[in-house]
């Protein structure tokens, strides 16, 4: 079970990112818990400046723009 957090104020790209993560997890057969973090304070505290940002199990892996599909699978698989 991996905990994935998507940091972003709720813009369209953040929604898309969350959907991409769920899809990739389903493809890989990895169980994930996707949590959206929309509070600007929490986003800043996580060290994210460009949204959407992604962290996997507490480790920040991505910030700014939609993630690359291949990389996304690598983060979820590791």
């Amino acid at each position: 079970m991996k905990t994935v957090k998507v940091y972003g104020p709720g813009c369209k790209r953040c929604e898309t990112t969350a959907a991409m993560i769920s899809d990739a997890a389903a493809r890989l057969g990895v169980e994930v818990d996707v949590e959206k973090v929309t509070d600007p304070k929490s986003i800043a505290m996580a060290g994210v400046m460009s949204t959407p940002g992604i962290s996997v199990d507490g480790k920040l892996v991505h910030a700014g723009g939609l993630p690359d599909g291949t990389k996304l699978e690598a983060w979820l698989a590791s």
């Binding site: 600007p40 986003i43 800043a44 505290m45 460009s50 940002g53």
Partner: protein, 352 residues
Amino acid sequence: MTTETRADPARPARADLLWYVGIPLAAIVLWFLYSQLIPFSEWVTSRLPVARHSHAGEAIAFFVYDVPKVLLLLTGIVFVTGVLRSWFSPEKTRAILPGKREIAGYPLAALLGVFTPFCSCSSVPLFIGFVSAGVPLGVTFSFLIAGPMVGPVGLGLLYGIVGWKVATIYLVFGFSIATVSGFVLGRMGLERYLQDWVQALNAGPVGDLPEERLTLVDRLKIGVEQVREIVGKVWIWVIVGISIGALIHGYVPEATMLRIMGGEAWWSVPAAVVVGVPMYTNAAGVIPVVEALLGKGAALGTTLAFMMSVIALSLPEMIILKQVLTYRLIAIFIAVVAAGILATGFLFNFLL
């Protein structure tokens, strides 16, 4: 389009080649279409049951010429900007700014503001990220003002539609306003007017991401992605802006324009700012209006003031910034930037 090359470094060539050929080809097609705009718009207007030099004929010709022109220009500029910006990121910018000497910090921040990609929806985390990393408040403001004020998209459109003189003046003064406003705001010691929770954050954690290595093809993809996203979002503003521009071009008599926005009417500069601030549109939407205004004899200073206040100061952005700034700080921020815009407007009305 996610998997082709990355997985197998042995044969990257095929898909990459497609990009190296496709992008120049697309550029040539855009260029060709662009060169056909005047004959196209004249042809369309001539097919309609209106006299070419009637009010309606002028308005329609303006509209039919400008819509494809702005959209083509926008596509090209957004692509180039997207590729250029792929070398920049808020994280890199934040790493550069804190160490800089005060005076050099402001123009540098303004310059980085022009090239660093960020959307207004992430301006709050960006603001906090900067301030908590020790970037001075004034320098952060220079960055935030310059981004929308002298963005490459607005400048490129201004250059293509209104001409290089106005575009250059806009660039120089927009950049100066961003630099000087940040400097003035920095001198005012406004830190205590940040929201309490922002003040309480000191030296927030810096997200250390591994640096991504992008190939040229990755950057071209980013450019195309930007075109899809931005042109897809902005086209409606373009249509609205051009419609307003067409109405001005076709129906507003020059004498009226001179009376309202001419150089003699000194009050027109503050009026342009007061009207412009609450208005919100993208640069792509306001430039066709600017084109029509200037064409009808509106004074350059008044028009610049209008354009700057529409683009640089917007209500939705203030509402977003309200999460980190108190009303008092927002008011001071607006006042300082508006003062710079007013000064620019008066200067050009006085000079020309």
